[in-house]
Symmetry: C2
Amino acid sequence: MRISELAEVTGVPVHTLKFYLREGVLPPGAATSRTRADYGEAHVERVRLVRALVEHGGVSIGDIRSIVEALDSPPPSRHELLGVAHRALPGVTAGAEVSAEVADLLESLGWTTCTDGPLAAGLTAAVAAARAAGVELAPAELRRYAEAMRAAAEVDVEVALRATSAADALRTVVLGTVMVDPVLLALRRIAQEGVSAERG
Amino acid sequence: MRISELAEVTGVPVHTLKFYLREGVLPPGAATSRTRADYGEAHVERVRLVRALVEHGGVSIGDIRSIVEALDSPPPSRHELLGVAHRALPGVTAGAEVSAEVADLLESLGWTTCTDGPLAAGLTAAVAAARAAGVELAPAELRRYAEAMRAAAEVDVEVALRATSAADALRTVVLGTVMVDPVLLALRRIAQEGVSAERG
C-alpha cells in the first residue's frame, strides 16, 4: 500500500508517518519509484505500536527508537528481553539507590535477579515518595501489594510465552506493560469500591 | 508558624503557598495582624497532600479544590466517600459507555455497586484502548487481572478502615490511590522479571 493508504488504515496522518520514517522508528517501505514506496502489514503493526507508546505510554521518540532497535535485533534470552523492554519504558529507572527494605523484600519473594537493578531503584523511589507524601505503607502492606502484582505478572508472563518469536515476545511485553497499566489502575479503583461494599 | 516557616517545613516556596491560598486549596491561617497569619500542623499536612496530588497524581488545581472541599465536609458513608475520592482523581471518568463484557465481569465478581458508573466506563475505555493497540487481553486474562487488583484493594480498604475520622479516611484513600499507583506499577515490572526467572 502507499503511504496515504497506510495513513488511512492506521488513522495516523501522512506527515506523522513521515516523521516516524525520519526518526527511524518506522522502517522505509520498498521503493517502487523514485518518489513512491510500498508498505505492508508489518508497517501497519509498527505504526500501531509507536502510536500506542506515544499516546498512552508517554514514551519519547528516543526511547521508542531503542525499543524498535531491540525489536529488529531481539536479544537471545527471554530474561534479557524483559530487561530491554523495562529499560526502554519510562518511569522505571527513576532513582539510583536500592533501600535495604526493598532488597530484603525482593529477596524474600525469591526475585533475586533484580535486587540491585534499576527496577529495584525505581521501586525504592516510589516507596519513598509515597511515604514523604504521608502514606504510611507499612512493610507488611508493601509485601501484600507485591503478592498482588505477582498474580498480575503471572498473566503477563503467560501471554509473553505464547509469542511465536523473540521479537513478538518483546512487542507483547512492551505493549502489554504500557497498555495494561491503565486497565490495572482502573480495576484497582473498582475493586476498592467492590471490597468496601462487601465489608460495608 | 509564619508562612515563611510553613515554606521551610514543607519545602514549598512562599509564592506557591500564596497561590494555594488564593486558589482555596489551603485554608487561611489565623490572622495575628493585618499582614500576618499563623499556620499549624493541619496546614503542613494539607500542603503535603496538595503537593503530592500535583506532582505525582497529575491532578489539576480545580480537581484538588473538589477533593479538599470533600475533606472539609466529608460525606456520611464510606461508600460515598470512595465515590467522592474516585470522581476527583484524574483518568477515571474517561469514557462514557460501559461494555457488556465489563458489566458482566463486575457482576460476576460481586461488585454490583459500580457496574454502571464512571469507573466501569473508565475500565471499558482502557480495555478498548489496549485492544486497539494490539494487546489481545482475553476475557479470562482480564478476570485474572481483576482478581489481582482485588488483593491490592483489600490492603487499600483495610488501611482506610484504620482512619479515625471520615475526613482522615478520605485523605487516606485519595493519597493512597495516587501515591501507591506508581509503587504497584514498579512492582508489576519487578514481578514480571521474577516470575519469568522462576519459569526460565
